[in-house]
Amino acid sequence: MASADKPINTDVPEKDVFTLHFLQSLSNLRRQNTFNSPEKTNDRVKKIKKAAYVSMARAAGGTNRLWSRALLRRAAKENSKVVRFPRRKKRVTCLRRRRSNRRDPVEEEEAERLRNLVPGGGGMETSKLMEETAHYIKCLSMQVKVMQCLVDGLAPK
């Protein structure tokens, strides 16, 4: 184990990347026939939300981040699509360290809660989880900004 970590990389792409992906997904949604019917607003809400998350996951680094992978996999499972991710060699060493490093029950309950919130958090140890959380928070806030701008821009009057 190295005594000094590499600096944590939590860079997030700019707003326009997010906007691009989100708008693409929205236009895909619009092409669906059943989308614009007024009765099924609930489904519409859900679909938009899902589209938001998926586009966010794709914009924020595709399959390089654990949470985005888990999100995409979850979404793909619902659509019964098969998603393939390139295998990373790092997995093995992470699993090997798991048993010895996950102790400290004081913070474990909080870490449990965090794991439930952040997608893909189930298999991570705490330090990795926090790294993912930081990136996730940044991406979420970027996505919120994008959506807010869209709403403000497209709202009537």
Binding site: M1, S3, A4, D5, I8, T10, P38, T41, N42, R44, V45, K46, I48, K49, A52, Y53, S100, N101, R103, D104, V106, E107, E110, A111, R113, L114, L117, V118, T126, S127, M130, E131, T133, A134, Y136, I137, K138, L140, S141, Q143, V144, M147, Q148, L150, V151, D152, L154, A155, P156, K157
Partner: protein, 348 residues
């Protein structure tokens, strides 16, 4: 210019190093003389072949200017001066003497000057490159009084990592000035929930019909509060009885125990929203409504484009939250209580 130096000269020019040089020879002397004064005397008288730079002196030649860089400035200056003047094909004498005579003392000078330099730079090795930074990288040195067995080292490293990441997270999360780790984690969790809720609300508001929503942070004050503006248009209200309000409140109270998010969803489904009491009081004073009575809001709020009417009952169980409703100004007169309902959105 160098070609002239390389041409083999007659032996008449060959002398000992003490006096004059050959044209191609003086380069060797210049380069070789300073750190290796002894070598100088033995090698000098030999007539160098035309391929002068091939022999091992090549390395000496190459290394000399490099080593001179490590030395002090005045030492450098003298050797540089020597090099410089060495390339001019004029008198070899003037610069040899500082070479030859300075070669010996220069060497010692260099060494003594090198040492204080290194001591000044606080490295403990003598001569050569510094090894200490690489040493600290290869081995984790235990501090005084702490165990050095691998388990505690691993634990310490792990804790350091987690602390490092917590610091990074602290900057991201607003209100991240808590020093306690547990409360910091609570803040983080709340913030993630809040952001997810915001995404959800924004995706709902894109339908163009949602109500005003403000954040649900009851304990954390207004830190996360940001209202997303929405267009309240085209909602058809239906009448609602007074009992429905009580039921709604009970339902919401029940939902709030398990999960704030679902409580908010339920309320939004009814076209209601939650807001802190402070905000509600501010609105009520602005619209000159009293809090305690049920007042139909139609007549009073003609001026405002979107009215907010306060429901009369404050639910005691919810500490700082009040039910509030938002609706169109045109639809107000229809019901005696100030609750409007949006039909288009139903609870998922």
């Amino acid at each position: 210019m160098l070609d002239s130096l390389l041409t083999p000269s007659t032996s008449s020019h060959m002398q000992t190093s003490a006096t004059t040089f050959d044209h191609e020879d003086f380069l060797n002397h210049i380069f070789a003389s300073a750190p290796w004064p002894s070598v100088d005397e033995t090698h000098a008288p030999q007539p160098p072949p035309s391929d002068v730079f091939v022999d091992s002196r090549n390395q000496q030649i190459m290394m000399m200017p490099l080593s001179s860089h490590h030395q002090n400035d005045n030492v450098d200056g003298s050797s540089a001066h020597a090099l410089y003047s060495g390339f001019s094909a004029t008198g070899s004498r003037p610069f040899h003497i500082p070479q030859g005579s300075g070669g010996g003392p220069m060497h010692q000078q260099g060494q003594t000057q090198r040492q204080p330099q290194q001591q000044a730079s606080a490295s403990t090795d003598t001569g050569g490159t510094a090894v200490s930074p690489s040493q600290s990288r290869t081995k984790v040195r235990a501090r005084r009084g702490q165990a050095t067995d691998p388990h505690s080292i691993a634990e310490r490293l792990r804790r350091e990592r987690i602390a490092e990441r917590m610091k990074a997270l602290q900057e991201l999360v607003p209100n991240g000035n808590k020093t306690d780790k547990a409360s910091m984690l609570d803040e983080i969790i709340d913030y993630v929930k809040f952001l997810q809720l915001q995404v959800k609300v924004l995706s709902m508001s894109r339908l163009g019909g949602a109500a005003y929503v403000s954040s649900q942070s009851s304990e954390a004050g207004g830190s996360h509060g940001s209202a997303s503006s929405a267009v309240a248009g085209g909602n058809q209200p239906t009448g609602n009885s007074n009992d429905g309000l009580t039921m709604t409140e009970h339902q919401v109270a029940k939902l709030m125990e398990e999960d704030m998010g679902s409580a908010m969803q339920y309320l939004q489904g009814k076209g209601l929203c939650l807001m802190p009491i402070s905000l509600a009081t501010a609105i009520s004073t602005a619209t000159s409504h009293t809090r305690n009575s049920l007042i139909p809001g139609a007549g009073d709020v003609g001026g405002r484009p979107s009215s907010s009417n306060l429901s009369g009952k404050t639910v005691q169980t919810m500490n700082t939250l009040k039910l509030n409703s938002n609706g169109n100004c045109m639809a107000e007169g229809s019901s005696s209580i100030a609750v409007k309902e949006a039909v288009s959105i139903s609870k998922p």
